[in-house]
Subunit: 413 residues, 2 copies
Amino acid sequence: MALIVQKIGGSSLADVARIRHAAERVVAEKERGNDVVVVVSAMGGQTDQLVAMAQELHDRPPGREMDQLLASGEQVTISLMAMALMQRQQHARSFSGGQVAVHTDGVSTRARITDIDRENLRAVLEAGGIPVVAGFQGIGPEGEVTTLGRGGSDTTAVALAAALEADECHIYTDVDGVYTTDPRIVPEARRLAKITFEEMIELASLGSKVLQIRAVEFAGKYSVPVRVRSTFDDGEGTLITVEEEDMEKALVSGIAHNEDEAKVTIIGVPDRPGIAHAVVGAVSRENVNVDMIIQNQGEHGKTDFTFTVPRSDYPLVMDTLDPVCKQIEAEALTGSDRIAKISMVGVGMRSHAGVADRMFEALSREGVNIQMIATSEIKVSVVVDQKYTELAVRALHEAFELDKPVDERDHIH
Amino acid sequence: MALIVQKIGGSSLADVARIRHAAERVVAEKERGNDVVVVVSAMGGQTDQLVAMAQELHDRPPGREMDQLLASGEQVTISLMAMALMQRQQHARSFSGGQVAVHTDGVSTRARITDIDRENLRAVLEAGGIPVVAGFQGIGPEGEVTTLGRGGSDTTAVALAAALEADECHIYTDVDGVYTTDPRIVPEARRLAKITFEEMIELASLGSKVLQIRAVEFAGKYSVPVRVRSTFDDGEGTLITVEEEDMEKALVSGIAHNEDEAKVTIIGVPDRPGIAHAVVGAVSRENVNVDMIIQNQGEHGKTDFTFTVPRSDYPLVMDTLDPVCKQIEAEALTGSDRIAKISMVGVGMRSHAGVADRMFEALSREGVNIQMIATSEIKVSVVVDQKYTELAVRALHEAFELDKPVDERDHIH
């Protein structure tokens, strides 16, 4: 008998019929002889509605009140899910974050889980019951309601699985697993049966929307096997797990694309120490996350400095840097919010060179100009004009034969 | 400087514009130099939606999960109201029932308030702030979320006013006070400037929908002056308070009507001890509240036994009593769910006889047949065929000159 944590996302709980359907999945797992802990998100669309109302009522809705507001969403779904399970003769019991308790560091709207009490959940499990836990929320050191930020329900599920030493954490969503790339762009994209935590972390941070990155980091840290599966079919989904010796190591596991960033370039900066700090420091002080950073030494002791930021922060960043550029005597401040970041990820890159070059060749063949490049041990990212997103993803998917099973691919793997 | 508890009902919080409007009323009270504690209901319509979902998911939604579910409604409005106040430069802070804490007896879906902690609210008030408290909910002895039942937000407001020794409790709603009768039936109905707790309790229990009866009982018990006023205008509303010596004592203060009951009659029961118990006991075991009860001794040692029950329980009661009637050898079981109860209420009845007779005379003049009569110190109720409701209310309103100020009335007062 295994212990499974099942996390059910908002789109799978958007109405009564879907809640009923999701409850049947829970009961099916239970009837296979396993213990189940259910973690739910708010009903699909609910959080957006609440946020919209808050923004109408306050220019910058205060964090504490946002937490209080948004936590109501899962309070609805835990009780509805518990009722749906009780109707099916299950002994279910709903728990808000505070009732578990899921302890957090108390930071409003982006709290981190610090500890989870096991007693209340264990008591229900030992009585043969199904605890239904509110994702996304916890209780801070002063007893205040705190939320974990968007997608935080995934993190709750993984953290609970770690705390209860569950055998697997199943993330039910509206896709049936992790794909080699976005199937809406490449219809030949293949579902991956397995992927490592590291690859999944890269894909998540690079724009794959399947799982929240903090959840995957948490899973990797505590070695909790996570299975992404669809609420709407019985497939095995994709298992995210530690790298195994006998795992088929694809050179490239997946291709991610991200159109949520903008590029900022400062041209002709006198090349002296402290420039990067002056620029990135000014941006960070506005609470903007800087992603890719590139500095090229140019001629005559001048340098160009380029980085990417979230697209929504682009106007703020340009305003912030205008006086900074004058101060550091840069020649010009330029940028674009019409860019896309295309990334290839695979643990196989560790042992094989040549991936980047093959990538550049494929893009060049299609006439796609590369604006920025960044690499790490298991990924290569390029920034291109946004109009090339689909073309670039399709060309790379084909060049690396991701539509074929790993052992049928032509190139080394 | 006074301390005012303002309770804002769901219809006054049904959307962002109304929340904003209600917040302005709160700020206006604050700017008059008073301290304010705000109590809110869930957004209008929200509770009904949640109940409907629960009933789709479970044949008899379990109480604990209903509490958990419904308490989410005020969690939304406390935070939205706090934001609206903060946007207006007020130091506001939202409190769920558990955060106050409002302690209850722990009975699911119809808990009673046992105690209220004052410290958290006092701290905000002393800092010049406005606590925004979730009505309708509290926390039970085991820390569980419990709700007070429909209309429970009124009770929360009055209980808070009592606990904090507030000067007045203002109940904001979509009517501008308590009327001599339902203005939809009698356009000449007058708003009452003042009414006693006792009269209000009778009116509430007799079908007036303005205030929840438990709230008025609570207010009377702790002598909390309650003012019912409209969210939509600046009127003084109606003050519900203790009976004052110099109050103008109307013979009749108001006329209530109730079409939510049904009448059950058991005909020809052998007149021996234990009959009333056999009948009422059987009905009570089905958790049905029996209201008016009348027993008439008939001929030949037989008696007729008549009582009223909530109309929604009528089919259940008839089914329940069928075997009971055979057992007690009654001649027939009959009844009607097309009745109306019309009641006249006034503290003046205490010192003046003749109200009942004048009432019967007015009804008789209009040809309205009286089916049942019940009286108490300050009220007379009659049951009539439901088709006479409007006719009876109008005839009585006119006969007792309720459209005129008390001192212009013809009859003794």
